[in-house]
Amino acid sequence: MIHLWLPLALSAALFGVGLYGVLARRNAVLVLVGVELMLGAVGLLLVTAGVKHADAYLAGQTLTIFLITIAAAEIAVALGLVVLAFRARGQIDVTAARGDDE
């Protein structure tokens, strides 16, 4: 037996922490760290919903596994883009204006 507000509160707090990481970081790789935390929060919410509504298809856990797979695909493409942007511009500051490349 578990009180469900504990994982729900952790999920909301993790999402907020990830949002802070996305909004307050200027290094593009560290922005992606925030995105990963937000995806982790969503996975925890899915598993918790699976505990609450025990269905025969185990949708919560299955969708969490799918979510982790999608997150892996996303991070591979995103890091490829970040490295490409670094090779093109010499820095990965997400607030840098486009005109000051050189």
Partner: protein, 176 residues
């Protein structure tokens, strides 16, 4: 407080604390290493909730692959070792981000706890064999589509990394 509550509180507090450190530390490489701790303890949360296969996948995919990718990207983009303030946002932006994220977290938390939270839930016994049955029976088409998506992402990442930046240099290196 049940036993599950106690264990979940311990692991969850560890997870939250390391997540906060991952988004606030000034050492850029430490950020990725705190992300390892945070996602690893999140796998512990899945274990307490009775989703042991999800916990294993989380450990394998996140700690084993994603964080290694993040570390490689940090090295390839010449992240400074040690404390660095060159990539700090301004204090006003950080304060605004803090307000927005705290408000979002409270809103989501309030909605979720009111909607799903009241009462206790009993955990299922070991679900791995059920999960295997479901993935390869009910969810087999989404599973196949996901493998296609992973293949596309892999090919995309490879072709991105081979994309030419400077045309004048690549003319002689070309298609020989």
């Amino acid at each position: 407080m049940t036993t599950h509550d106690v264990f979940f509180s311990i692991v969850g507090l560890l997870c939250l604390a390391s997540a906060v450190l991952a988004v606030t530390t000034k050492h850029i490489l430490h950020s990725a290493l705190w992300l390892v701790v945070s996602l690893g303890t999140l796998a512990g949360c899945y274990l307490v909730l009775g989703a042991e296969f999800v916990a294993l996948v989380q450990l394998l995919v996140y700690v084993g692959a994603v964080v290694i990718l993040v570390l490689f990207a940090l090295m390839l983009t010449r992240a400074p070792i040690g404390r660095s303030t060159a990539h700090d946002a301004s204090p006003a932006q950080r304060a605004a981000a803090l307000v927005i994220s705290a408000a979002t977290a409270m809103l989501i938390g309030a909605v979720l706890i009111v909607g799903l939270g009241p009462g206790v839930a009993s955990l299922r016994p070991s679900t791995t064999s059920d999960l295997a049955t479901q993935i390869f029976a009910t969810w087999s088409w989404p599973f196949e589509l996901l493998s296609l998506l992973l293949l596309i992402a892999l090919v995309t990442a490879i072709s991105l990394s081979r994309m030419r930046i400077d045309d004048s240099l690549d003319d002689e290196a070309g298609d020989s």
